[in-house]
Symmetry: C2
Subunit: 113 residues, 2 copies
């Protein structure tokens, strides 16, 4: 395993996604090629350091990855985490469905008319 993460809980990923600025960064990164911090900063309405902080949060959640090329550092999306998060939502939703179904069946069989 290359990245140090306890894969047990999806909360950190959701927390990382729970900020407008970060979602905007993800959207910009989603448009294709890796981008440098300066480029991400331009038109973002905040400081380069602000962008850097957000990128680190995203990276710590495994949603993004950065590498250094020359004097600039290029960042790109890391897709697997998004899918993992989606699977978590699926799980919760499905668990809920099953419980509801069981409950419904139980209630209906209980009427016994």
């Amino acid at each position: 395993m290359s990245v140090k993460r306890r894969s047990g809980t999806p909360a950190p990923v959701f927390a990382a996604l729970g900020d407008e600025s970060r979602l905007r960064l993800l959207a910009r990164l989603g448009s294709g090629e890796p981008m440098s911090i300066s480029r991400l900063t331009a038109g973002s309405g905040m400081t380069r350091q602000g962008v850097t902080k957000h990128l680190r949060v995203l990276a710590h959640a495994g949603l993004v990855r950065g590498r250094r090329r020359g004097k600039e550092s290029l960042w790109q999306l890391e897709r697997q985490r998004l899918e993992a998060a989606r699977r978590s939502l699926d799980l919760i939703s499905r668990q809920w469905d099953e419980s509801l179904n069981k409950l419904k069946l139980f209630v209906e069989s209980d009427r016994s008319d």
Copy 2:
């Protein structure tokens, strides 16, 4: 529309999901019947007020709904938000895929060998 929400951004929903305590509450609520605050508090390791606060956050994100019955207030999941959140993730992921594909096609057609 019954709930006051700007449906533009999914960030609040993700932010609501980005906390372990709240995920645990969702999991317990996902196991079927609506539950009262006292019942949710039991075994949660925090105060009733803490639980109440989290429930309010979840409710504000549209993930949960509470109604009063007699002297207790019953809470249950609200599934549509979960699906909406999942769709948001789908969207980001798909947008990314498309961009990557375009880029790949472009690069490959550029080689022209």
